[in-house]
């Protein structure tokens, strides 16, 4: 195998992307869990530990750029490295949603507003399951597996719509909680966007294997308020 150096470095980066993905999965699950426990200390930890994810993203980006410069890849290797650059960026942005949820949690503080914890957890679990499988498909370069995931985004979208309507209704009947209701909507928004970004990872798996850049679902508004 004449490209042993390139192949072994690609494997290393793939493993690190997998690890970064696990950190992001844990961050969103923890952030959602603290909505239930209302452990604000833990929320602060999640908020602060986002910097670890940011640093890892830059380290990976740097490793990818070095490989591009030194190994001068073509064809599938080139597509893989270009896709990796995008995926590490997606993962970093997804972690920002976890950070955003932790920040909102701290802001809600001791308010006694009813947080739809169960639905938030369902959204987070579904999103994490999608992310986990999308990263497996990415690393195994399995386009069929990747192509099947984006449609599951509907489950997250339905939960979002449910929370949205319930929260608006709550705010109408309890106008003094308007501000907190708005916070609840942002949490839902962050989880919904988190799942949307899984689709982008799936698109890159298709790109690596076929060379085609294609949109797998038409996400609505890209307005990004994750940092709240």
């Amino acid at each position: 195998m004449p490209r042993e150096t390139l192949d072994s470095k690609l494997t290393q980066i793939q493993n690190e992307i997998y690890l970064l993905g696990s950190m992001v999965e844990q961050a969103i699950l923890d952030a959602t869990n603290t909505l239930k426990t209302r452990d604000l200390k833990e929320a602060k930890r999640i908020f602060e530990e986002d910097t670890v994810i940011n640093e890892k993203r830059f380290a990976l980006e740097n490793a990818i750029i070095i490989l591009l410069a030194t190994q001068q890849p073509f064809a599938r290797d080139l597509r893989l490295l270009a896709a990796m650059l995008l995926v590490v960026n997606e993962l970093e942005r997804m972690a920002d949603y976890a950070k955003g949820i932790a920040k909102i949690n701290i802001k809600i503080g001791k308010s006694d507003i009813d947080i739809p914890v169960r639905d938030f957890q369902k959204m987070a679990e579904q999103s994490v399951s999608m992310l986990h499988r999308s990263l497996s498909a990415f690393i195994e370069q399995n386009p069929n597996q990747a192509a099947a995931i984006p449609q599951e985004d509907d489950i997250v979208d339905e939960l979002y719509t449910k929370i949205y309507h319930a929260t608006i209704q709550y705010a109408i009947t309890n106008p003094s909680y308007m501000d907190q209701a708005n916070d609840i909507l942002w949490i839902a928004h962050n989880l919904e966007r988190f799942a949307d970004r899984v689709t982008n990872i799936c698109e890159r798996t298709i790109f690596i294997t076929t060379g085609e850049l294609m949109e797998m679902s038409s996400n609505d508004d890209e307005t990004d308020l994750s940092d709240f």
């Binding site: 004449p2 490209r3 073509f74 599938r76």
Partner: protein, 261 residues
Amino acid sequence: MRSLQSNGKPKITAKNFNLFYGDFQALKEINVDIPEHSITSIIGPSGCGKSTFLRSINRMNELIPCVKTTGKIFLDANDIFTQDVVELRKQVGMVFQRPNPFPKSIFDNVAYGPRAHGLKNKAVLEEIVEKSLTDAALWDEVKDNLHKSGLALSGGQQQRLCIARALAVEPQVILMDEPASALDPIATLKIEELIQNLKKEYTIVIVTHNMQQAARASDHTMVFNMNPDRSGYIIEYGKTSQIFTNPHEKITEDYISGRFG
């Protein structure tokens, strides 16, 4: 083989072209259109017939006694094998791997071709020499030393002198066989930039082992491969941007990503 989707008018066309060295078939069924005013690179593993095909385009292979060919190659609509070979080589110039200036002055190197074709008028010759050296991006470096020996120039300058010498007879096509493989990286980039400018007036076909060079410098890339009987054929031909990012053939993919064999 997938054929090239190009809007350019074909300058060179090969139809069912085969070439034999004695009993050995070196090229098998080459069918290809090379668009005019573009740079086409030919890549592929050693011994697969890239240079043989390049040399066929100006019938250089005929200098080898045992060579025979079947099929046709056209320059525009003209069958090159029915053309006068001297006239053909005036239209199809060639630049080789190692710079090979004549042991003459810079001026005489460039004026050699026009003189051989009977041009004697000194003023016209001077004009041709200046234009050819300018087009070869060498004029500014040598204009005050035209009487100096071509062999006194650096390797990169010598190669540009050879390009100027090829341009002096106003060819339509320039064939280049690994034109930068003996040059340092800066001289190599100069040649690559130079050919980008030349394609406005000429059609350029370049054989290279340097895939980065093919990717940087050419519009289209033709990938040669070898059959089990060692005859060469074209496995894939497409826009350079496609070949190097998303080749259609696995053999191309393996070759350009360095996983061949």
